[in-house]
Symmetry: D3
Subunit: 318 residues, 6 copies
């Protein structure tokens, strides 16, 4: 089986299909046009230059298209870059499809849905259960395909549901250790906390921010929507305010986008569970790419730190 782009080293030859993520025209210092392509497969991305590009190249090699490329992986300003030797558009007979070239959660949509459904089923508080179930039904398709973020963590297809399910599992264990926690509230908060992103972002595959996303943001949008759904379902107990508060406060501080800090126990835990799962996702994926004794690349969302994998990392694993 062919290895993905992330597994190539500097100097490796390359010969495979790639999905074009973006294509930008430039003019070289010799006056000739060239294309800067960002290419991707399921393992990652790479930048490539197509020198002396023709008008036809410009119209053929555009975003969302697949192409067969041969070349060599070089280094440019400390980053890998693919030097294209030959390129041709993919043909129907090649039997490749775009959906195989994007990163996906390591768990199937069915399993993710099942775990979410189970969590809702376990709820005893009918107000929380009805609101949560309503949202999951209403947004089921998007919920199962959207990423949890545009970059940094869970930024892949089904990333949002994957993040929710990891957090539900964490919450279940915390409830065991700290039985005073209100499990229903915590579960509901986890499932709903980032659903505003389904409106903040434009789509599952190559998401950008919507106008509402830019001007209002997913947190106030979701607070509003919980209010609207509660009205629609005729629910007006304190549960509505608590759920809105949990969504509102889950970034922890005003300067991180939460106009109120967590003021109930479950909101504080939601914030911490969110942190733990997002950080573990970033750390595991970065550390997977390095060998024991090496440091990862700098992780922007973790204060630009570069993490070390100890030499004895794999020594005592079962």
């Amino acid at each position: 089986m062919k290895k993905g782009i992330s597994n190539h080293q500097i100097g490796d030859a390359f010969d495979d299909f790639m999905l074009i993520k973006s294509s930008t025209k430039g003019v070289a210092s010799n006056g000739k046009p060239f294309l800067t392509l960002v290419l991707r497969d399921a393992t990652g991305e790479i930048e490539a230059k197509l020198w002396e590009a023709t008008k036809e190249d410009e119209q053929t090699f555009i975003a969302e298209e697949l192409a067969r490329i041969t070349g060599e992986v070089n280094q440019f300003r400390g980053k890998a870059q693919l030097k294209i030797q030959s390129i041709r558009p993919a043909q129907p007979t090649d039997g490749v499809k775009a959906s195989d070239f994007v990163e996906k959660a390591p768990v199937s949509q069915e399993d993710l849905m099942e775990r979410i459904t189970e969590a809702i089923f376990e709820m005893k508080n009918p107000n929380l259960q009805r609101i949560t179930r309503h949202f999951v039904k209403m947004y089921q398709e998007a919920l199962l395909t959207y990423p949890a973020a545009v970059k940094n963590h869970h930024e892949y297809v089904s990333g949002l549901a994957h993040h929710i399910v990891s957090m539900l599992n964490l919450a279940k264990e915390l409830k065991e250790l700290y039985p005073d926690l209100d499990q229903d509230l915590l579960y509901a908060g986890i499932i709903l906390h980032d659903l505003g992103k389904l409106k903040e972002l434009s789509g599952a595959a190559t998401p950008s921010y919507t106008l509402e996303g830019k001007l209002i943001g997913h947190i106030p949008m979701m607070v509003e929507e919980i209010g609207a759904v509660a009205t629609e379902l005729g629910i007006d107990g304190e549960e509505v305010t608590m759920l809105q508060h949990m969504v509102l406060s889950h970034h922890g501080k005003a300067e991180w986008g939460s106009p109120k800090p967590p003021l109930i126990r479950e909101a504080e835990m939601l914030h911490l569970i969110d942190l733990v799962d997002a950080k573990m996702n970033m750390l595991n994926r970065s550390l997977d790419k390095v060998q024991p004794g090496e440091f990862t690349e700098r992780l922007f969302a973790m204060d630009n730190r570069s993490f070390y994998k100890p030499l004895f990392a794999d020594q005592y694993k079962e």
Copy 2:
């Protein structure tokens, strides 16, 4: 006519009716109970001690009641304190009523309402006009009596409407000077920006924060309500998002409670107009209490600054 409590100097004798704002029991070092009363009239507040208070005193002199008090204005830890010599509850025959003992805006509710109505009438954009008119109608009574804040600025009866009207006047002039401004949007933003306080605060006279106020806050509450009203009125143009954005961003920065900073011209101006009017209200009221050549008390909401009134302040006034 009797002068109010704010116009008494240290050492003055006092003999007048006062409204009891709060009453707290304590035990003196000699073991005897006493009451700490916060008293107010239309000009301001003063603390008073009722030593050796009986059980009956405790039940008589409670918050929201009026009392006739004689005594002397002393100083305690740098603040004026009323030393009570005699106190009796007000009688129906005294002809005093509580509403005369609270501070009010210097403009009548009718005039305030008229100016707001006029601003709505001038609007050309029907979406903005309908939403704004709906809110004003829905909340008219509260809007005309609530303060704009619990403390710091416009913290008096009709303070919110007074603040709105001052800001509308300011906006009208700015529109003259900067004709590119969208007057409808600015007017609508001004009228709605703080309406969430009608739900954040418990009442017009001695307001405290509601549970929703504490856990959600007036900004997200109002964003939600604009969404609900727009749905109710069947309006879904970009005006709804812009209005929500203006309310959301009017504190200017995340750390001041606005999860998004102003991202449209009118939102930026709304934020600045709000600042100008709030600051002028605080400054004028503090400077009114001092003589030329003196400094005001420290103003907490203005970075704890103490402002100077120049010696020539009144010299060239018409």
Copy 3:
């Protein structure tokens, strides 16, 4: 059975033994001396004033002594204060002992020790296991009695061991959810992270800071001690540096006392687990004191927030 001081309301009569935590002489405005006593039992503390104290009182009612007190719980500046009506020193025949008047962890020292021993037993990495076991053996007695902190969280007898065991349990679950975590490293980091406090603090019961604690602090002291123990045991693999790094970085940021931020995955998780358990300890103990629908007192170590207990908090509990 008698209820503890924390369960008294303002106005309640009081008649019970208490442990004197501190005793300070003052002079009242009438020129007579009095004593300010801080009294405690296993449920909490209260301040009390003994007016017109004699020389004998001064010498009798001193820190660490027990006394039988009758009086009434009053309020002073918003805090409960015990008004003493009578007081006498405890007699041998009273059958009370000081150790019953301090707060303790809700788990026995035996159970705590067992869980720590079990965690060490599970380790596969011999270097980590030997170092950790050495420390636990060396400090066993103090480890089982010291608080985790002077105030804020786990500030009771056996608090440190209680905190360690809760964190070990949390770590065990995290390892299930994120199998890439190095359990041995995480366990060792958890057990050792705060052991420096055994030298930073003066004792288990009423701890104060030692000179070394004030000038060096528990983090660098423990880093040094891990180095010394490793030398003593003849261990010099990378495990020593990793353990030192985990202790060094567990406060997360330089401004919180960690000269290096976490730079390995397990150090990042140690920091987060520490946060989760400390916060849950503070939250649970504060929320236990209020009824549904009420807010807790302000929690200094949680950004001075006051937390709300929802009305439906106990409604769906099993």
Copy 4:
């Protein structure tokens, strides 16, 4: 009439005169020298590359010279760049002059001067009037040509006077709304607040910082100069200190360059009026360049925000 450079789109052909703002020699990767020219006309600037430049080109195409250029507008790293096809120096017979290629205030110098004179004429306080008149007379020529800043706002010929006049107009309206304001003090503060820039900057057209500007700054320089002028005019009332204070504090905070914050009402308003006018100038000029439904480029001096122009922006304009 020919459209300016700011109105060209990527891909447009270009054929017009431009003023050379700067010219820098470089060596291309083929070892041949080239010139990087920054070109401007009254509407804006563009960068251009003149490849394979001869020694003669180097001496001909230098800063402050005019040239006739044909070429094409390309994109380079997200910014427009002019690809030069032919270039020749402007001839006397071309009838173009440098002063037509710089941006100017949209109001004539005569009108600006008239408004400033009128404001001084209205003053009733003779001390303030004499000092202000003295400065305006002394610096009249520079005052009418200098920009208000090197970049960000009013950074064009007569920008300083334009800024002053806008602020005077704003102040006039504020005085109407808040009659307690001392109009003379506010007018004097507005006219003088940035006059130090006439010494801080090297000239009106392509200003750089003088040595005194870099080491002392316009604020302390102007405070000093007010003192000197007052001495010269024999004025020593409190007005001198107040004027110095207004200049000194008009940046609002120590970290923004004002060693004292505003401590008189008019100083606070001067700071806010300055903000309002500077921001409106930046916003209007950026929004003019985009269509409804688009965002502006990021505005560095406004916290790097990108502003949105609503779709309905021009819909209800008269």
Copy 5:
């Protein structure tokens, strides 16, 4: 010889003359007036209460008067307080004078003046020498009596000159170690850096801030004055700007009151020398009051730190 107030312990009897620094009337909880006196001698200050004060007491025991007091040193809220047993005003026959009751520099005014004169004499740069000499002559009397600050460091009679002389000595040594330093510039900067305080403060003995001090501050005032003196002396070389820059930047950062940071080598050193001498003055005076093995009181101007005096502090002294 009698020991000063700073050398009394809690519990000591007291019988001596004191200077009254301030006297404030209060009303006790028994309704009777009392005076809070702040008393001082050459070693320090103490607060005292004069209970049941008569009208006559009020008029006799006022600020700036001397009184003979007997009493006892007690503790109140952790601070020493003098309990007055008897008090009488000082008589001419007592032979005490106010100037003996204030703290003074440990060096005579003659010696201080001589060292400053010597430093000016050593200068080779005539411009710097003339300006500095002019200022010293003009302000000689105040310069030799003013404190360097109202509190924190060198806050005693002749404190400013003492601070200048210490800094000159430090600068002389630095010049030896770093010969590139411009000694003339450094000396001139040291002598002038705080002279603005002679106008910022109201006097030498019990200084308060003048209006100009509050609204302009000593730094911009001195920058202005250097400019005026240079004009008067007909000096306009770069030395004037450099001297102004050194005064302007000597607080190091905008947020500490310097609108420009140091931008020449000697300005950077002036800032550091100022820090070293101010801190040594605070540290030495605080450490003098404690024994080896003790901590000082918290020093507000040193980030509220409490400093330790090692046990071996005096062991190896010659």
Copy 6:
């Protein structure tokens, strides 16, 4: 004698030997490989491009090798760049050696060692003397060759010892001016404060950070080592804690890497002496490169400031 690379101007021809500091392969836009060489001699560094580099070039011109180069100094993006015309590896017959191509302290290792030895000899406190002497003996060779830092200040061979000796000289003078200082403690702190860098950095010539350096840092590493040495020498007086505290706190604040701020007088002075000497080293070396009337390049470690050398800088020098 040949002038070094730092003394070349843009446009100068170049013909000399250089040490290759690093060599990186790149691919030009024409597809041909090139080498980016960083070259250095005892006066500084320069970047150079070797276009169309052969495989042999790649293997010949590598880090740590010497080469004879002719070419021309050009400018690229505002920095000097050497355009290589010819290059050949150095031959044994050329008689050049690498150690002549690195920057060194301006004082010989013998003189540095002598001054350090003398300072230890002067100590009267035997505990401090023994510990310090032990460290100097143990690390003598590294101590005399390592730089004080990787960049910014004293970043040359013997830089650490040079920094220590300058600080000792400064301390000697401070002791004269402030006789209360404990000279032994200050000397010991100065000699040891940065010795942890001998383990934090990989070597003297082209130092990088070790793993322990990255994960623990030189401060905690040195605190640990002082503890170990004291144990080894059987010393346990308070001197050990004081020395550890001085090392620990010498960065001054938690956010600068010191988990405790200075809490003894000598620690505060150590921090300030360190600042003074590091800043003078940076300032002198930058100002040496510019002429009177010019500004230095921006100094990153001094808040990115650019310093001015006054026109009269050299005018009155002896």
